[in-house]
């Protein structure tokens, strides 16, 4: 019987509440309620946090739907989407230097974090103008260096996310030609937890969900406490309140659990996951020797499954969010 849990997160607008949960003691309050302890650990490097989770060091980790499919699920770690926190609604974007149309990206070198959601966004954007990745050159560039990279003459286009995106957009010669509001609901930020751990310890799921939505309510309120919480998150991410609010504006946060439940149960999600799986398969990163995009199964709240039913490794489960919506936590 496990009573000590730990989850990890990395710095990103939609995940800053996790840090605040730990600092403010809200998490402890909820953990105490269920007689467990939950440690929320900040890891600066996003990929490293997922790797640590996949390796079994953590019971949960905040990540995108795409990375959940390729890394833990692709690596055989059965993973459940516990809390669907938000989706990117303009938070990821494509910027061209001295050009204004997406179609002009043809033939350019594009700097982005390869195989990340930026790469996915680019692929989806290119679809809309009838181009494909073959029409340009992708240069893998680490996110931490993206702003400095943009400042050099070699770089003419970048795909990245906030806060880097807005920093670069502020440059005089930068034009955002496409962003994730063009593909709403496809880049989803989720608290993923280990399915087995969750099944054995429902209290863990309850404590996390309860704490999260308590903070969501506080954060979305116009009260001083809400502003104070957001200020703390802003500063933890290295910016100030207006900067953080600007980032929130391009993030579709599900402050109310019901919204998250509705989104997760919607018909679009399976289509999105299909796109994602195809993208991952095309890039050869969907697990070892994956014969087709359907190699890893994805289960949805209604019980339907995309892909191999014998190899379901990623599950969207709304039961805990529903409990929060019902106030039964």
């Amino acid at each position: 019987e496990k009573t000590d849990f730990s989850v990890c997160w990395s710095i990103y607008v939609g995940w800053m509440p996790w840090g605040y949960l730990q600092d403010s003691g809200i998490m402890k309050k909820w953990a105490d309620k269920y007689d467990i302890s939950v440690d929320i650990v900040q890891i600066n490097d996003y990929v490293e946090s997922i790797n640590q989770y996949t390796a079994g060091q953590y019971d949960g980790c905040s990540m995108t739907n795409m990375d959940a499919l390729s890394i833990p699920a692709g690596g055989g770690v059965d993973t459940t989407a516990l809390i669907v926190g938000d989706y990117s609604n303009g938070n990821d974007g494509i910027i061209l230097k001295d050009k204004t149309e997406l179609a002009e990206i043809k033939g350019q070198t594009v700097n982005l974090v390869e195989l990340s959601v930026s790469h996915y966004l680019l692929a989806r954007a290119l679809d809309t103008v009838g181009l494909s990745e073959k029409d340009l050159t992708v240069v893998n560039t680490s996110d931490a260096d993206m702003i400095a990279a943009y400042a050099t003459d070699d770089v003419t286009s970048v795909v990245t996310w906030n806060p880097l995106l807005s920093e670069i957009e502020a440059e005089a010669n930068a034009t955002k030609v496409f962003d994730s509001s063009g593909i709403p609901g496809e880049i989803i930020d989720v608290m993923m937890v280990n399915t087995e751990t969750l099944a054995d310890n429902p209290a863990f799921g309850k404590a996390l969900t309860g704490a999260w939505y308590e903070l969501m309510t506080l954060m979305s309120s116009d009260s001083d406490e809400g502003a104070a919480a957001r200020t703390a998150m802003a500063e933890a991410s290295g910016t100030d309140l207006p900067g953080y609010d600007a980032q929130l504006a391009t993030t579709k946060m599900f402050y109310a659990p019901a919204e998250a439940v509705a989104f997760t149960e919607s018909d679009e999600l399976p289509d999105t996951m299909k796109f994602v799986a195809e993208f991952l398969f095309d890039n050869g990163i969907l697990g070892e020797g994956a014969p087709s995009p359907e190699f890893v199964g994805v289960a949805f709240p209604d019980g339907s499954v995309f892909g191999d039913e014998g190899n379901v490794k990623l599950r969207f489960d709304t039961s805990f969010m529903k409990m929060a919506a019902d106030g039964s936590l």
């Binding site: 990890c8 710095i11 650990v41 900040q42 890891i43 600066n44 490097d45 490293e48 790797n51 640590q52 390796a55 060091q57 996110d143 931490a144 260096d145 702003i147 400095a148 400042a151 806060p163 880097l164 920093e167 005089a172 200020t231 703390a232 500063e235 933890a236 290295g238 910016t239």
Partner: protein
């Protein structure tokens, strides 16, 4: 007179030494000035005042969120990690280095392995490190140790091998046991070498520390640089770089002074840089 026989006086020496520093500062100020002429909000090369302000803010204005003086907190945490890491590496260097350099069987066994191991760039095995040692302090210290110890061990072992064979033989004729040779002859002759090697290893140690702090940490100089890098807050970054360089310099001088004090016999013969 040949130029190699001309020794500059104290003042000339000082003046010559200042020139390159002044050059760099002026070059920076000019470049920064022209960039800011183009774009007054340029973040890449902030003005010197701005860096001064950043230093003041980080060092003397309590952070709004935590109330800490960030610079001192970061410095303290980083130095702790660095100190522990280098202490462990030195200890390994002394024990393994002497064993490898002094005992042929240990040398046969460990030298090839160590040579191979030291060739692995530690940052490539970071995931394994983090999983073996967790994401706490231990893994950061482990990265420093893994990154610096192999070179230090090899260098120490080579210093042991470089002790003239005649001295060891002389010790044998004076009736020394292997242990006594180690404690009275090898160790004292090798310690100053370990200190010089430690001084040389400080630079890679800082690099590993900063890399480790950038991945998993919530304080430390490397963490802060990583955190503000995404906003290109070069005023903070450059301030921290200067501060790190200063710290490294002070550490280096302290170690040199320690060596001169503790091993005066080793500093009698010739110039050193």
């Amino acid at each position: 007179m040949r130029i190699i026989n001309l020794r500059p006086g104290r003042l000339t020496s000082l003046a010559l030494g200042i020139v390159p520093f002044a050059g760099v500062i002026i070059a920076y100020a000019v470049a920064s000035h022209y960039r800011r002429l183009e774009n007054p909000a340029d973040k890449l090369l902030p003005s010197l005042e701005k860096m001064g302000e950043a230093f003041w803010r980080m060092a003397f204005v309590p952070d709004r969120r935590s109330g800490d003086l960030l610079l001192w907190l970061d410095t303290f945490d980083s130095l702790m990690r660095l100190g522990v890491g280098m202490a462990v590496a030195s200890l390994l260097a002394i024990t393994l280095g002497i064993a490898i350099g002094f005992i042929p069987h240990v040398r046969s066994s460990l030298a090839p392995f160590l040579a191979t191991f030291s060739l692995i760039p530690p940052i490539t095995i970071l995931p394994i490190l983090f999983i073996s040692f967790g994401l706490g302090e231990v893994s950061k210290i482990a990265l420093i140790v893994i990154g610096t110890a192999p070179v230090m061990i090899r260098y120490t072992a080579q210093s042991v091998l470089d002790i003239p064979r005649e001295m060891i033989i002389k010790a044998e004729t004076l009736g020394a046991s292997v242990w006594q040779m180690i404690t009275r002859l090898v160790l004292p002759q090798v310690l100053p070498k370990v200190i010089s090697c430690l001084r040389l290893s400080l630079v890679p140690a800082w690099i590993f520390l900063i890399s480790a702090e950038a991945i998993a940490s919530t304080s430390g100089l490397g963490y802060r640089i990583f955190l503000v890098r995404r906003y290109l807050a070069m005023d903070v970054i450059l301030t921290y770089v200067v501060w790190i360089t200063l710290l490294a310099f002070v550490l280096d001088r302290l170690l040199l002074a320690l060596s001169k004090r503790a091993f005066s016999w080793n500093h009698l013969e010739r110039d050193s840089l």
